[in-house]
């Protein structure tokens, strides 16, 4: 029983990452109709916002340490972060410690900017082009973005820990009446889950309850009619692209403490995010979110030792197996709209 609860928690956590990425992707792909192979790269850029901020906060001046030498026998220079000079050592250390939460704030304008630039500079010219061309250009862009990051940060993963206050685990089981120490769950993963839920709710509320959102939804359903009504739908679509990039970026920046970012993490998530969106159904935001959580939870269960013992290798293929079953039983995924990307 305790294992099942832990795996549900794990599933929710994975699911919230999948759901966030899929939500961003479906805003672009399911509704604007652009096959965006650079979406994984946006996720990766988000995670690197945390890395970049930590590099900025750790900009240091060198101080000579008396009497010690480095590995070559030269006098040892020790780095002292400049923030220490500005805010004092204690406050400076705290700022560096809280790098990831700060990076969340830091990433929002950056990612919206990246989204705007991408849409205005490139994607705009591809709305009317065949999907094949969209794939090629966004795949090219994804490679370029990843390689630029690799050029500056190398290929190895870069540890970006959560603030010390969040590094421990919560004894979750005690609340549910289990013995202490049976169900432990890391704080940061809980934060990730709640923060994701907040973002998802925010995006839905925005689309559902604001006039802007209403126009965008109308534009998704029937772009031409909305345009005929004299509404500048293009500007709104640009904004939607920025929003999608920000959602992907937030998913990435909060993910950085869970999995150390590296330059190809975007490619690792790319295929998965397409599977999630399509299983959820093209053009459906709730579908994407539901599919994200569903696949996350199933993946977690499939990796339980008991399950793997019965069905060897199931943990490797579960997502794809479920995708096949759902797509064969429900023609348009969980909640897909008829006619979107169907021919």
């Amino acid at each position: 029983m305790d294992q099942i609860i832990v795996q549900i928690l794990n599933g929710l956590d994975k699911g919230s990452a999948y759901a966030l990425i899929a939500l961003g992707l479906t805003l672009i792909f399911g509704t604007l109709g652009v096959v965006n192979f650079a979406h994984g790269a946006l996720f990766m850029l988000g995670a690197f916002c945390a890395v970049i901020l930590s590099k900025i906060l750790n900009i240091s001046r060198e101080v000579l340490v008396e009497g010690e030498t480095d590995f070559l026998g030269n006098p040892l220079m020790r780095d002292v972060p400049v923030v220490y000079d500005w805010f004092g050592e204690a406050a400076g250390a705290a700022i560096i410690d809280w790098n990831v939460p700060l990076a969340i704030l830091f990433s929002i304008p950056i990612m919206i900017g990246v989204g705007f630039a991408m849409e205005r500079g490139l994607i705009k010219h591809f709305y009317k082009r065949p999907h094949a061309d969209q794939i090629l250009v966004t795949f090219g862009l994804a490679i370029v973005l990843a390689e630029v990051i690799k050029y500056f940060f190398g290929a190895n993963p870069i540890q970006t820990p959560a603030p010390a206050a969040f590094t421990g685990s919560l004894d979750f089981g005690v609340w549910l009446g289990f013995d202490p120490l049976t169900i432990m769950y890391p704080y940061w993963r809980l934060v990730y889950f709640f923060f994701s839920a907040l973002i998802i709710a925010g995006v839905f509320a925005f689309l559902q309850f604001t006039t802007f959102g209403m126009v965008v939804r109308a534009g998704m359903a029937d772009r031409e009619t909305v345009q005929m009504l004299g509404i500048d739908i293009d500007k709104r679509f640009t904004f939607m692209f920025g929003l999608a990039a920000a959602v992907a970026g937030l998913a990435g920046v909060m993910y950085a403490p869970i999995v150390a970012p590296n330059y190809h993490m975007g490619m690792d998530f790319l295929v998965l995010s397409f599977v999630v969106v399509v299983v959820g159904g093209m053009g459906s935001l709730p579908g994407a979110v539901a599919a994200g959580f569903l696949l996350g939870i199933l993946e977690s269960f499939a990796s339980m030792p008991v399950v793997v013992d019965i069905l060897p290798g199931i943990n490797q293929i579960i997502i794809y197996l479920v995708a096949i079953i759902i797509l064969l039983t429900r023609p348009r995924g969980l909640m897909g709209r008829k006619g979107v990307m169907e021919d």
Partner: protein
């Protein structure tokens, strides 16, 4: 017209550069008497450095490449000579190999066996490389080693730790200086038993591929010999990045040690996840819960940050070693590049020197002659103490380092401290050991190519 399996472009290339006027049409085989693939001309010899330059191991590949460049510089008489000064064999004098200047070509393995073989084949067929070396994965090493066997060139393996490279997939033309899974198990188990006791229950998470299997097998058998019990071992997909689903069940499984048979990015992520789930602070069976990482890579350990503190593992070499050879290498590498070399850099540098030395001692570039020179060759002064290149399986036998994540690192390179130098006798095994492919494994015949 001549007939060959692999070309000897090196000859023509150097010949042409040397200004030897070739009549038209000229049929190749000027070196018909040499009788081996890519026999070099009189002025230069080409080595092929095949390392991952893209993909997850690109940084290790870059470090290997730095070491190769350094080795070439030293062989050609540049720089401070590095380990040439400390090497027990003194035949290398800085005039290249057998009087020929060392040139090199580079390629990208992408950590894929197909791409690695394509790159190696282009070095052999196009650039006339006489020896291929490098790699940062056992799958790639086995694939390229088989290719070199077929083509008739020498393969000096880079970073490859799976038993199979010199076990069931050993080849007469392939040589490995790096240690292997078996040695890790044999060196690590006594240290673990001494520190954690002999009545431990271990839980293994194993990357679901070849290296993972051999490492798990080695650690399981050597820790069980110490009295440990293996509670469970679970395979994790190689492409996994979030290991939470695999880590979460560990705490309540009755185990009190977690062994992470993961390397590279897998290791960084699974270790980070394990720490997040509080395993390091946990108590199981009345003992402190412990984590073990059999194969450490310092480059990757950096990615795991503070999580490696106090965690045991093994490594082939570490820059903090105080012997003369290691210090000489660290000095020349550090002076040239500004940071200490990794174990990948060390093994590739040493392999290049060993190859050059073997050619010089053999007086020939012919692969069979080189193999004969390396067979049961004993040497010293290359950083690992007295070392034997065993003729039965072309594996180096030397002391193994058991290391632990340092509690108070002084710099970003100072992540591991050496706990014990396990003497070579303790990690020795018979060439037909069951983990090494048993009695069926054989080197086959050495191949000089066409």
């Amino acid at each position: 017209m001549s007939k060959s399996n692999f070309t000897r472009r090196g000859v023509l290339k150097t010949g042409a550069v040397g200004g030897a006027a070739l009549a038209l049409p000229q049929y190749l085989r000027a070196d018909g008497h040499a009788g081996f693939t890519n026999a070099p001309g009189d002025s230069e010899v080409v080595l092929g450095f095949n390392v991952p330059q893209t993909g997850p191991y690109a940084d290790e590949g870059a470090d290997e490449l730095r070491a190769y460049e350094l080795a070439v510089e030293h062989l050609n008489g540049g720089g401070d000579g590095g380990m040439l000064n400390t090497f027990s064999s003194k035949v290398l004098d800085g005039t290249g190999i057998l009087g020929r200047e060392v040139k090199y070509v580079t390629g990208d393995t992408q950590t894929k066996s197909d791409a690695a073989r394509a790159s190696a084949r282009s070095m052999i067929e196009k650039d006339g490389a006489i020896m291929i070396t490098g790699g940062s994965s056992s799958g790639v090493a086995v694939a390229v080693q088989a290719l070199c066997q077929e083509a008739g060139v020498i393969f000096m393996a880079g970073l490859t730790h799976s038993n199979d490279t010199t076990g069931k997939d050993r080849k007469a033309n392939g040589f490995r200086h790096f240690f292997n899974s078996y040695m890790t198990g044999a060196a690590l188990a006594p240290v673990l038993a001494a520190n954690y006791g002999t009545d431990r229950k271990a839980y293994h998470l194993t990357a679901d591929y070849n290296w993972g299997y051999t490492t798990e097998e080695a650690i399981v058998s050597s820790t069980e010999a110490m009295g440990w019990e293996t509670v469970n071992s679970v395979k994790t997909p190689l492409t996994q990045t979030d290991f939470s689903s695999y880590i979460a069940p560990v705490l309540n499984s009755g185990a009190d040690v977690l062994v992470l048979n993961h390397y590279g990015g897998n290791m960084v992520n699974s270790l980070t996840n394990a720490v997040q789930f509080g395993l390091r602070d946990a108590v199981a069976n009345g003992k402190n819960f412990e984590i073990v990482v059999p194969l450490y890579s310092r480059l990757m350990a950096r990615g795991a940050g503070a999580n490696v503190k106090g965690i045991y593992g093994s490594t082939n070499w570490h820059w903090s070693l105080q012997d003369e050879g290691s210090q000489a290498f660290v000095r020349s590498f550090g002076t040239k590049y500004g940071f200490p070399p990794s174990q990948a850099a060390h093994t590739t540098y040493v392999q290049t020197l060993l190859y050059a030395d073997a050619v010089t001692r053999a007086g020939s570039f012919a692969p069979c002659a080189v193999a004969e020179a390396l067979k049961d060759y004993e040497f010293d002064g290359l950083g690992n103490g007295p070392t034997l290149y065993r003729g039965d399986d072309h594996q180096c036998f030397k002391d193994v380092l058991v290391v632990r994540g340092k509690e108070n690192p002084e710099s970003e390179f100072d992540l591991l401290e050496i706990v014990e130098v396990t003497p070579v006798d303790q990690v020795m095994y018979a060439p037909d050991h069951p983990q090494m492919g048993g009695a069926d494994a054989s080197l086959g015949e050495c191949n000089n190519g066409a």
